[in-house]
Symmetry: C2
Subunit: 211 residues, 2 copies
């Protein structure tokens, strides 16, 4: 009995969160009311206040939910049969895809961009990406797949910020469909600096590599 009530409460919380996320992603924080969340979710306004206390509370839950989905993604990127830098690149395409298509991820990014209009402190949504990238770079280092001058934590921080700027400006200026191509351009510029062992010396009579 308790169990059924708990399940129903969880389903309501989730329906409210998803309705709010799609509204925040489309209209922004200021453009979304508790009433809109109620209408889109098919729940009452009272249930928004009951489960999240306020519109700020829902916004906070939406940003935190982005974090909650990370253990799943991380598990996938814990596959140690794949070289760590390959997992890092694959992860970036997955996140770019979520930023373009997943309402909760989109809402999290938009709420963060509009954080000055939200009346509560939002957690840094980049902390988990940075932690995941740091872990992969550290693995690359310990398996000899990282250029020796690359510092995992510092480089992860740089990569995440540049990556996020690239994805969000590309979507704003050219639309979401071009993001994967621009991401490829960016990796072409960035990946060589992460990889160890530059071109080997060319022996006389041998064609130079890359020619």
């Amino acid at each position: 009995m308790d169990r059924t009530l708990q399940q129903r409460a969880r389903a309501t919380r989730r329906a409210l969160l998803e309705a709010a996320a799609s509204l925040f992603a489309e209209r922004g924080y200021a453009g979304t009311s508790v009433n809109d969340i109620s209408t889109r979710s098919g729940r009452t306004s009272g249930s928004v206040y009951f489960h999240y206390a306020s519109k700020e509370g829902v916004a906070l839950a939406v940003v935190q939910d982005r974090f909650a989905t990370w253990p799943d993604l991380s598990a996938r990127y814990a596959d140690e049969t794949v070289p760590p830098l390959d997992r890092l690149v694959a992860l970036s395409y997955d996140i770019a895809h979520a930023l373009s298509g997943d309402p909760v991820t989109r809402a999290g990014a938009r709420l963060w961009a509009e954080r000055e209009t939200v009346n509560t402190a939002l957690p840094d949504p980049f902390a988990l990406w940075t932690a995941a990238a740091t872990r992969l770079l550290a693995q690359a280092r310990s398996t000899g797949h990282l250029a020796p001058h690359v510092h995992p934590a510092r480089t992860a921080r740089t990569l995440v910020r540049a990556f996020f700027g690239l994805c969000s400006l590309t979507e704003a200026l050219e639309g979401a469909a071009t993001v994967p191509d621009r991401l490829t351009d960016w990796w072409h510029l960035t990946l060589p600096s992460l990889q160890p062992a530059p071109l080997p010396p060319t022996a006389p009579g041998e064609a130079p590599r890359g020619a």
Copy 2:
């Protein structure tokens, strides 16, 4: 006589634009009223309407003004005695500095971030940076200072977006004072891919270049 009136009108327009820029940078578009612009500039609200027609009109002028200051900057970066990639790097630090400290540049960036709340189409504020970066990369190519696989326009687009993400996220997460250090981290990752001729083959007995 006409001349004096024109000068006075120009001074008023400028005072209104600078007052509006500092308010937009601090409080955002929605948080700034025509009345606030009038108060801060010491001009009447009527003069805002007379010179810019509306709050949207002032916002548009602020974003366009960022463009207007570019010919000065570009002139400085037309100094062909300095290698083009060095000028590109120097330019990036100057823009990062303006993004942290110049009210009109800050206002332009914030208005662009909040463009969905502004009731008028704003020009792409990145077009001129991209054009400047493209020109410098093309010069680097024609003077043999660019890696052969680097396409100037495509690479300029990638660099500007990643650069802007890096600066704006760094400022948001760590404050403006850390931006130059993070920019240096980013150039360490990015510049090697732009430079031509990796280390030449080391002949036996010869010291490797860069050692």
